[in-house]
């Protein structure tokens, strides 16, 4: 046994070592995120625009009020939330399906796993171009005409740009369900095998076993999956932009803000706009922390 003072000294050294080890991460996050987010918050209270003459004025909450007063904002918010909810539900459902399909050993399981893993592993910075080729094909392709007809009929039923937006959704689901499937499979692997065997003795209904054993035990993984899925949808600007070629009829908050900032030079309103949904997402995260970072962990 050590003397209490050396113990305390050692603890003190440990704590300083901890801060030292944290410093690269903190430094990276500060450079890449802290200043930009500070700039964005500040700008959201000003009239900053490269197009205006004269000095930038502090306008208080005016940008927020103005955004909340426009129809475009509510439309974009609605589309964003719809996009996030639809893709998240589909991704979790598909991912859960993939994970359950692979839960028990069978011949060719390793291969089947690789198949599920591929959509996420395939670099999406370029697979999004593949989706563009597949669903909004260039005129030079043999299938351009038939897909063009499909696109035209969808667009005329749901409004121009609908097909492009559907392809964004399909792409997001394709890639995301792969990630969630693998994550949930990792979760299922973590459940002790005996638990399934007990459950088998308790109930003959596979559905009951799934609902009462598998799903509750997967909760932390599901919560993590839902959160990552929501942020990817809320933050999505690039994929929407690319798949719709910037001809945006269904704007999400991201593309709308991008449009305001880059095409119209209204940095103030654009900043306000992109910050408006952050509290909402933050609230969701705080709720989900209860599932994937429960307080009991402290005891270990």
């Amino acid at each position: 046994m050590e003397a209490p003072t050396t113990r305390r000294m050692r603890r003190g050294r440990e704590i300083s070592a901890a801060y030292l080890l944290l410093s690269p991460t903190v430094l990276l996050l500060l450079t890449v995120l802290a200043y930009p987010i500070g700039w964005e918050v500040w700008t959201s209270f000003t009239s900053l625009s490269p197009l205006q003459d004269g000095a930038t004025a502090f306008v208080g909450l005016q940008n927020y009020r103005q955004q909340l007063g426009t129809l475009e904002f509510w439309w974009a918010a609605l589309v964003t939330v719809g996009y996030a909810v639809v893709t998240s539900v589909a991704k979790v459902a598909l991912g859960l399906g993939f994970a359950v399909l692979l839960a028990r050993p069978f011949r060719g399981r390793a291969l089947a796993f690789l198949v599920i893993f591929l959509p996420w592993a395939y670099p999406s910075g370029v697979s999004v171009i593949g989706y563009y080729w597949m669903l909004n094909p260039p005129i030079s392709t043999a299938y351009a005409v038939s897909l063009g007809h499909l696109k035209y009929s969808v667009d005329s039923a749901l409004g121009g740009g609908a097909w492009a937006f559907i392809s964004v959704i399909l792409f997001n689901i394709w890639r995301g369900s792969s990630f969630i499937g693998v994550l949930l499979l990792a979760g299922i692997n973590a459940i002790p095998r005996e638990l399934f065997e007990y459950a088998l003795l308790e109930s003959k209904s596979a559905w009951r076993r799934f609902r009462l054993v598998t799903v509750p035990l997967l909760k932390p993984f599901l919560a993590l999956a839902v959160f990552l899925s929501l942020t990817s949808a809320f933050g999505d600007l690039a994929n929407v932009w690319k798949l719709t070629g910037g001809r945006i009829v269904f704007p999400v908050i991201g593309t709308h803000a991008y449009w305001l900032a880059i095409k119209q030079g209204q940095f103030g309103p654009a900043s306000a706009l992109s910050l408006l949904l952050v509290p909402f997402l933050f609230g969701v995260l705080l709720v989900l922390f209860r599932f994937f970072d429960p307080a009991e962990r402290k005891a270990t």
Binding site: E14, A18, Y19, L21, L22, P24, T25, L28, L29, T31, V32, L33, Y35, P36, I37, W39, E40, T43, L101, R104, F106, A110, F113, L114, F117, L118, P119, W120, A121, Y122, G125, V126, S127, I129, G130, W133, S140, T141, A142, Y143, W174, R175, V182, L185, A186, G187, N189, F227, T231, G235, G254, Y258, F267, S271, V278, F282, F289, R297, K298, T300
Partner: protein, 290 residues
């Protein structure tokens, strides 16, 4: 396990098959298109290739000087594809390395050394995911410019890790946290320093979780084309994703599809090799006492 009735097996098989079609068809589709001649692209069947050719891939590697004659020169653009590929390799490897280095250090600090409030540190780092990237690149450009890194690959080595760090720190620190303290204590009693104990014992033990973090970082980095195209300006400085998406390549050309496949091959190969480790690592990270 009791044997399953035949119809369950058949159902399971067909669902697996359906899954495979769903997951692979876009990838298959891109591969098929990239092997086509322009004629076949225009008149052929979209799902198969009858006369496969590598000319689209060859075109990617053609340098401007090699195309003879005025007309050829005017008609054909050149793509510094080899440069792009090299840049992409540097950026991917560098970002994954930076991410792993920073996240292992931070995760050990949070999960192993546990300074006061370590759970809130971890939550705060994870919460950076709520920050929308949307127009963040406007002020980010100021930062990059102030550091003198515009049009420099180093800018991406600064930005990409922050996209993967929170998740990597999360799983690594959860893993370190649940490691029995006795393991380390034993090494310390044997006279090893904390550093030696970490590098000799803890780090080798955490291999699966490190693999999981690395693969996650690679997948995250490979998903971007926006940041690459904003911060890398001159053609020969681009990455593949940024270059194909923005530079003087039109998205509608067959070369683009070929380029997609060329970038995908190494990334997919690496992921496939580590695929099993990835799942094992995720499992180990999330389960107490694993």
């Amino acid at each position: 396990m009791n044997p399953r009735p035949w119809w369950v097996k058949v159902g399971h098989r067909s669902l697996i098959l359906l899954t495979a079609v769903y997951c692979l068809s876009p990838i298959y589709f891109m591969l098929v298109q990239s092997l086509k001649t322009p004629q076949e692209d225009l008149f052929g069947n979209p799902f198969i290739v009858v006369h496969p050719t590598l000319e689209n891939f060859e075109e990617l590697f053609e340098r401007k000087g090699e195309v003879r004659g005025f007309v050829g020169d005017a008609l054909r653009r050149s793509y510094p594809f080899l440069d792009w590929l090299a840049n992409t390799l540097i950026v991917f490897a560098g970002s994954v390395a930076v991410t792993l280095g920073a996240s292992v250090a931070a995760a050990y600090a949070l999960g192993g050394l546990r300074p006061p409030g370590f759970r809130w540190w971890r939550r705060a780092i994870f919460a950076t995911y709520v920050i929308p990237q949307t127009i963040l690149f406007v002020p980010l450009y100021q930062v990059v410019h102030a550091l003198g890194l515009d049009d420099n690959l180093l800018a991406l080595l600064l930005i990409y890790p922050t996209m993967a760090l929170p998740f990597c720190i999360w799983i690594l620190s959860a893993y370190f946290q649940q490691l029995p303290r006795e393991i380390e204590e034993a090494a310390l009693i044997e006279g090893a320093s904390r550093t030696t104990a970490f590098f000799r014992i803890i780090l080798p033990m955490s291999r699966p979780v490190l693999v999981a973090a690395g693969i996650f970082a690679l997948g995250t980095v490979a998903s971007d084309f926006m940041i690459a195209s904003v911060f890398l300006l001159t053609p020969h400085n681009q990455t593949v994703a940024g270059g194909l998406g923005t530079m003087d390549v039109a998205l509608d050309e067959l070369v683009v599809v070929a380029g997609i496949n060329l970038l995908a091959i190494p990334v997919v190969a690496i992921s496939a090799v580590f695929a099993r480790g990835y799942v094992r690592g995720l499992t180990a990270a999330m389960v107490e006492g694993a």
